[in-house]
């Protein structure tokens, strides 16, 4: 029996994402030295898609493990998160579908790190990629 797709973004999708991160050997390896706090991924506000306020996910990642994940709403919900990545829905969709490399998208300015320490992010390029690429393994149902 196939695994049913989970709506993105949602609580269920966020939990499945956390499970996918924990199942990633690459993330376990490259993320092992990461002790710099949680990472939030936020979808830009888009009322036409029902994304108002901004939906997001906060992943509590530490030493190669995702210790917890929360689906949140609004930029105030991610305040205080050490690393925050923001992008329009269409960009996240391309990343989740594996059509766009997340690191290259950051360099192109299509995924924007609005909060965070750039030298640390650059030190952990492989870990960051492994984290985001884990999302490609979540069976996903997109709104459009």
């Amino acid at each position: 029996m196939g695994v049913s797709a989970l709506p993105f973004p949602s609580d269920a999708w966020t939990q499945a994402f956390a499970d996918a991160v924990n199942a990633s050997e690459d993330y376990r390896r490259y993320g092992k030295p990461w002790t710099f706090g949680a990472v939030a991924m936020v979808i830009e506000k888009d009322a036409s898609l029902g994304f108002d306020p901004e939906p997001g996910m906060i992943l509590d990642v530490h030493e190669g493990v995702c210790r917890g994940a929360r689906h949140v709403h609004g930029l105030e919900a991610v305040e205080g998160t050490p690393f925050v990545i923001v992008a329009p829905y269409a960009m996240w969709k391309e990343v989740i579908e594996g059509e766009r490399d997340p690191i290259k998208a950051m360099m192109e300015g299509k995924l924007k790190m609005t909060t965070g320490h750039l030298p640390t992010m650059l030190r952990f390029v492989q870990s960051s990629r492994a984290l985001v690429v884990s999302a490609t393994r979540v069976p996903t149902e997109f709104p459009h």
Partner: protein
């Protein structure tokens, strides 16, 4: 003299220019030894990010760095590669005493292999070796 990092007019629209300026600022704030490295840098370095279709010129002059979008003037050194390989400069392992890239390091080996294979090209390296060595130290997030 305190270092000064300036984005030239129009450079802010190019993500890599902003990212490099932010990286240099953060490194200088957190690792004051890099200020002495910057003070000794003179010349222009062009970084061409082939996969992004972007280029950035870094102009070094007496502790001041100006970051331009595109290639501005005649660079002393031009580094041409895919964006991730260019930014790997910041992750190259450096020998603690000399501050030069350590060929035993994983990232340094990847960068050297890419240069040998031609997927990373450096023009003007030999005459500007000290400038390139200092740039590597300035951008390094590991040392």
């Amino acid at each position: 003299m305190e270092p000064c990092i300036v984005l030239a007019p129009g450079a802010a629209e190019q993500p890599m220019a902003g990212m490099l300026a932010q990286l240099i600022r953060a490194n200088l704030d957190e690792r004051p030894a890099k200020k002495a490295t910057l003070a000794r840098m003179r010349g222009r370095v062009a970084l061409v990010f082939e996969d992004l279709g972007q280029a950035v010129t870094l102009r070094f002059e007496r502790g001041r760095v100006t970051v331009d979008a595109g290639i501005v003037g005649i660079p002393d050194v031009t580094l041409r590669a895919e964006s991730e390989l260019v930014l790997a400069l910041s992750r190259m392992e450096l020998e603690p005493r000399s501050g030069l890239p350590d060929p035993r390091g994983e990232v340094t080996r990847q960068v050297l292999d890419a240069t040998r294979e031609g997927s990373r090209e450096v023009h003007g390296l030999l005459p500007s070796l000290p400038l390139v060595a200092r740039l590597t130290r300035l951008l390094s997030v590991t040392a």
